[in-house]
């Protein structure tokens, strides 16, 4: 605990770095994965191959993936982002596809029957209704990104992983804790926040309060 109490500024600034890396990776992953997922619901024959590739990427160990990316992207922030984005694609694409495809077909039919164009159907119906499933994917990759970003400090990405690796090499338990503790808190906290966001987004799904369920008069 010593290190954490004696160097709060360093821990704080590394925490901020860590948040930045993870948040940037999650946002980029969503920006890439969601559109791919949407395209896959229209071009269903591509689902097998795309999800297959994303699945294979997901199984590569983190350090091995970093090692493979270094020749192309060098060290530091860039390969870290690429690795985190590649890892995230399976969860985001798969959840986007299933979020959209599990919508009750009678809802889609009613919306089409009322005269919605393909784009209106997508933005007014399919995305809002698929969002809870996509959000579940975002929660998964956020926790994952916070974890993998720790290992990425090995290739110079910075963040709280720096403290852990320094601690390991110098047998300094205080430093290890000063790195590990904020990471755990970060993961837990961001998951809680995302759960709240998810609840807000699917307000319509909640059973509300049992007392307010109005009956036919």
């Amino acid at each position: 605990m010593h290190y954490l109490l004696q160097n709060p500024e360093r821990v704080l600034s590394l925490t901020i770095d860590h948040i930045q890396i993870s948040a940037a990776a999650v946002m980029a992953s969503v920006a890439i994965g969601v559109p791919i997922g949407i395209v896959l619901t229209r071009l269903r024959f591509l689902q097998g191959i795309v999800l297959g590739i994303a699945g294979v990427l997901y199984t590569i160990p983190a350090l091995a993936l970093f090692a493979m990316l270094i020749p192309f992207f060098g060290l530091g922030f860039k390969p870290t982002m690429v690795a985190l984005i590649l890892y995230s694609q399976l969860a985001i694409i798969r959840n986007t596809v299933s979020g959209i495809e599990t919508i009750n077909p009678s809802i889609i039919e009613a919306a089409t029957g009322m005269g919605m164009s393909g784009m209106q159907l997508l933005f007014l119906v399919q995305i809002p209704l698929g969002l809870p499933v996509v959000m579940a994917g975002i929660r998964m990759i956020t926790v994952m990104a916070i974890g993998v970003a720790t290992i990425a400090s090995y290739i110079g990405a910075g963040g709280l992983g720096d403290l852990i690796f320094e601690g390991i090499f110098t047998f300094d338990t205080g430093k290890i804790i000063a790195g590990a503790l904020p990471i755990c808190l970060l993961a837990l906290l961001s998951d809680r926040i995302l759960v709240k966001v998810q609840r807000r987004l699917e307000q319509w799904r909640e059973d509300f309060h049992i007392g307010t369920q109005s009956k036919e008069s």
Binding site: A110, G113, M114, E202, R205
Partner: protein, 374 residues
């Protein structure tokens, strides 16, 4: 208004859902498509708003071949209500109803005004329901919202696919009655799909009965009950078709109008003369024409000639309103063990009587015509 010309739909798997169907629907007409599941009734309906395109034949709306129209524009001019209602669960009642106006880019204020108007029309309180989500509504309320949504841009045509199918029997009947009243106000051209014959008889100007993709018979409810085209129709209509027929006819259309009555203060002497012409029972009215009771021949014969009718008559008498159906009349006759019912109008004045022979006359005819003994 809507014209289907030799329309056929064959699906990719080779199944012919609709086979050479020709049907013309007039403006303001309520046509019910009915048949067992898989008969092609829903497919036929979905071809009208191009959710399904026909394999052969063409469909005209107001003379225009709809395959030449933009399906999106076409659908916005056709109200659409389906069984599970298809309300969008993530939108409030107001957002659901305003959906088509919103797609049509109506100004916001006009959208809201229309939403309130429609909620009142379908019998929902705007104040309490506007901001609710579909999940917070009962089945009947959801159905009302579905109907309101279909009426939003006042489309001339409505397509309805078993809209009341998922409701419990009591709510269902209530919704049906309300819908009849609503239709009398809005006068839409309606294509309605159901598998429930009672529902069809209740609504339809014409019923088209489908079997294996073909229209077996398309006619008015009465004609279908009277002259089923073949055994399929006869079976489909059911063995209780006589009773169904009774539910289609109003008491006032079958009653005996010119009947003899006696007044409360008439003397038995006068009444006996009437009985001499063959009556067994006569209705007693007061000076306002209100029904007061009836008098039997035996009682009149037993009484002394100087007595008044009011002293001998039997009360109460079974009555029925003239706008009720013959089915209700029959049920009342059986329940009250009455040989006839006095028919009264809105002011409770006597307008006629209905006897079991009136019922026989109405529903017995086709059997006599076809030579089958009753």
């Amino acid at each position: 208004m809507i014209k289907l010309e030799n329309v056929t739909k064959r699906f990719a798997n080779g199944f012919t859902a609709v086979d050479d169907v020709t049907l013309e629907i007039q403006e303001g007409e309520f046509v019910v498509l009915i048949g067992p599941s898989g008969c092609g009734k829903t497919t036929t309906m979905k071809m009208i708003n191009r959710l399904i395109d026909p394999t052969a034949g063409r469909i005209l709306i107001e003379g225009t071949d709809i395959s030449k129209l933009d399906p999106i524009q076409l659908r916005r001019r056709i109200g659409y209500v389906i069984q599970e209602v298809g309300l969008l669960p993530h939108m409030t009642v107001a957002e659901n109803i305003a959906l088509v106006p919103r797609l049509q880019k109506w100004p916001r204020a006009k959208q809201m005004q229309r939403v309130e108007e429609l909620l009142n029309m379908v019998g929902l309180d705007p104040e309490t329901s506007l901001q609710k989500y579909p999940r917070q509504l009962s089945g009947g309320q959801r159905q009302r919202v579905g109907v309101a949504r279909a009426l939003a841009v006042d489309p001339p045509i409505m397509l309805m696919d078993e809209p009341f199918g998922a409701l419990d029997p009591i709510t269902r009947e209530q919704m049906q009655d309300e819908f009849i009243k609503l239709q009398q106000r809005v006068q839409k051209t309606i294509v309605f799909v159901t598998h429930d014959m009672d529902e069809a008889l209740k609504f339809a100007d014409r019923i088209a009965i489908l079997d294996r993709g073909r229209i077996v018979q398309c006619d008015t409810p009465r004609a279908i009950l009277h002259n089923p085209a073949n055994n399929f129709v006869r079976d489909f209509v059911g063995t209780d078709h006589t009773l169904k027929q009774l539910s289609l006819i109003k008491v006032k259309d079958a009653m005996i109008e010119n009947i003899s009555t006696v007044r409360l203060e008439d003397s038995i002497h006068n009444v006996r003369q009437l009985f001499a012409t063959g009556y067994r029972s006569i209705v007693v009215v007061d000076e306002q024409g209100m029904v007061r009771g009836y008098i039997n021949r035996e009682d009149a014969e037993k009484a002394s000639a100087s007595q008044r009718v009011s002293e001998v008559m039997v009360t109460p008498i079974s009555t029925i309103a003239h706008d009720k159906s013959l089915k209700e009349a029959l049920s009342k006759m059986i329940r009250n063990d009455a040989g006839y019912l006095a028919v009264v109008n809105e002011q409770s004045k006597l307008v006629g009587i209905i006897t079991s022979s009136c019922l026989h006359k109405v529903v017995g005819e086709p059997y006599l015509d076809s030579g089958i003994a009753v």
